[in-house]
């Protein structure tokens, strides 16, 4: 795949979550997979996140939340991101411990993890990774994005080569 599949990724925490180590881990993991990472750190409000992402024009935005308020924080963040025209088509994903135990278990109050995923996807997330799904699912998603980027770059080169020379 070479460097064409290298993604520029922005990693960020969510507004109410002051945890750092999940963000450090994600950065190292994405770098291990060959991508370039800008890590915005914990406690970023939606507006600041959107502004940083607009300027950074990344291939992928990864939000991580582990304090159990991932759904409400995530909904606010993705609304702010999708309000930026430049980010309308940018893949935005969220992962971690996104709800309290009660919200994630079936039947009680907030519904199942599946319903939470649905709400987050409807609000504009491209993918949702719950704690239980592990890293492999996220790895497949990121690898597919990288391959897609490489394919697009390849097509552009073909088109450039195909263009008639004066």
């Amino acid at each position: 795949m070479g460097t064409d599949a290298t993604l520029d990724v922005i990693v960020s925490g969510t507004e109410s979550d002051s945890h750092t180590w999940n963000l450090v881990f994600l950065q190292l993991q994405l770098e291990d997979w060959g991508h370039r990472v800008r890590n915005l750190g914990p406690c970023l409000p939606g507006g600041e996140l959107a502004e940083e992402c607009r300027r950074g024009a990344p291939d992928l935005i990864v939000l991580s939340s582990v304090n159990g308020h991932g759904e409400s924080d995530g909904l606010a963040a993705v609304a702010a991101l999708r309000a930026v025209p430049e980010l309308a088509g940018t893949p935005v994903v969220i992962g971690g411990k996104l709800g309290t135990g009660r919200q994630l278990s079936a039947g009680a109050g907030g519904g199942t993890g599946g319903e939470m995923t649905h709400r987050l996807l409807s609000a504009g997330f491209s993918a949702v990774f719950h704690e239980a799904s592990g890293v492999a699912e996220f790895e497949r998603y990121v690898a597919a994005l990288g391959a897609e980027k490489a394919r697009r770059a390849g097509r552009v080169l073909e088109e450039l080569r195909a263009a008639p020379t004066p």
């Binding site: 109410s16 750092t20 180590w21 963000l23 881990f25 190292l28 890590n39 750190g41 406690c43 600041e48």
Partner: protein, 431 residues
């Protein structure tokens, strides 16, 4: 000193130390005033030398008072006590008849903009708090360090002005706990001391210096001795003591592993002459502990401290690697500017202080650490820090994600394993 009012918290810690008792303290906070009061009463009644804690909720910490008010009005659950939301008479009611000369109470909050919290605490008669311009800013958000320094200067002014009402305020620096794990002890000791010097420069006369248990008992011992030695030189006219934090990183999953780690923290405190210990519970890896679990942790820590005997032979900690590093860091920073707050800002801007893995925009982010095979925390990359990676041990390779996970769970793993093999030696502890 005799004509000045003394801080009741520091005074109780000093009296307890003089009669050979380690003061133990939980981290505990509830949104409901009755639950908060009952929690304090339970801690006071524990079979241990205890002080009380009022930990504030995260809305109050972040200054989101409307959210805190809504949560209180709706009877929702808060993860701490909203001291700025409940009226002053309610705050005083929580403490009435509970707090006294032998059961002082500290407010714990985690705010980089603590003026309102300090004011509300003082209004409730709570003259003892903790934090610091670096330790409550860099790990938890993006507020510029310069602003956190200014906020803490103003907070110190508020505390010092309370002397007009016969109050002697006390602040503990949280600087010995940066990010909880993987910060080499030399830097923890230096930040703890520098925040202590900052508090002194802004008029505080009663201060405690923190250090959080890390990955190697001998290195931890060197660190606390270095902290004590340098504090003696840097805080000559201040009433100060040392507080040890039970390990703050990924916690052992087994009950026996968690309790063993707590006992080691108590032993560290006793062997280094530290006066106070903040405990964690056996439930820590799984959920927020109950009051009962906190009381159990306090009693187990107190017992472990008793069994560790009196403080060891006088040891100055001279010549240790931690002392060398801490001394170089402190001297370099204090040499930058006579104003300690300005010196801290400049030091981080130039990478002379650089907390490994800290993502704050004002942290240089060039320094990296790792756990050596003997369990010591060491530098793999020092960036612009005025310390050298130790020649024989320097490991320059970068950490992968898998290395990081291994490092983060090093303590949990080794205590779970070690407890599994020594379980039969621990009386009264079932897995």
């Amino acid at each position: 000193m005799n004509d000045r009012p003394v801080n009741a918290f520091a005074d109780f810690v000093r009296r307890s130390h003089a009669r050979g008792s380690l003061v133990v303290q939980p981290r505990m906070g509830f949104g409901d005033p009755r639950a908060m009061r009952e929690g304090l009463i339970a801690v006071k009644g524990a079979n241990a030398t205890t002080v009380g804690t009022v930990t504030l909720d995260s809305y109050t910490r972040l200054g989101k008072l409307a959210d805190a008010r809504r949560a209180v009005a709706e009877g929702g659950d808060l993860n701490g006590y909203p001291i700025r939301t409940h009226p002053p008479e309610t705050n005083r009611g929580v403490l009435e008849g509970v707090r006294d000369r032998d059961f002082p109470v500290q407010v714990r909050h985690g705010s980089a903009s603590p003026q309102g919290i300090i004011a509300a605490s003082l209004a409730a008669g709570l003259d003892t708090t903790e934090g610091g311009p670096v330790s409550y800013c860099l790990p938890y958000g993006r507020l510029p360090l310069r602003r956190a320094v200014r906020n803490w200067e103003r907070s110190c002014e508020l505390m010092v002005r309370a002397r007009a009402h016969d109050v002697e305020p006390h602040v503990e620096t949280f600087g010995g706990c940066m990010l909880g794990q993987l910060c080499p002890p030399g830097l923890l000791v230096a930040i703890s001391l520098l925040e202590g010097v900052f508090f002194r420069q802004h008029g505080l006369r009663s201060i405690s210096l923190s250090y959080a248990q890390q990955t190697n008992a001998e290195q931890d011992r060197e660190a606390v001795l270095a902290l004590r030695r340098l504090a003696g030189a840097l805080l000559p006219d201040v009433d100060w003591h040392i507080v040890i934090y039970n390990y703050m990183g990924v916690y052992p999953r087994t009950r026996s592993g968690a309790l063993l780690l707590l006992e080691r923290a108590a032993e560290l405190a006793v062997r280094t002459g530290a006066e106070r210990l903040i405990v964690k519970t056996a439930a820590e890896a799984h959920r927020i502990p109950t009051v009962g679990e906190n009381v159990e942790a306090l009693e187990i820590a107190a017992l472990a401290a008793q069994n560790a005997g009196g403080s060891g032979p006088p040891d100055t900690g001279a010549g240790s690697e931690v002392l060398d590093e801490a001394t170089a860091l402190v001297d370099t920073v204090l040499g930058l500017n006579a104003d300690v707050g300005a010196a801290l800002v400049e030091a981080f801007a130039r990478g002379l202080l650089d907390v490994p893995y800290c993502l704050h925009p004002d942290n240089a982010g060039r320094a990296r650490s790792y756990i050596e095979s003997d369990g010591r925390l060491r530098w793999s990359h020092t960036g612009a820090l005025p310390v050298r990676p130790h020649g024989r041990s320097a490991d320059r390779r970068s950490m992968s994600a898998a290395d990081l996970l291994r490092a983060l769970s090093h303590v949990a793993r080794s205590y779970d394993e070690s407890a599994a093999t020594t379980l039969d030696r621990l009386p009264g502890i079932s897995g």
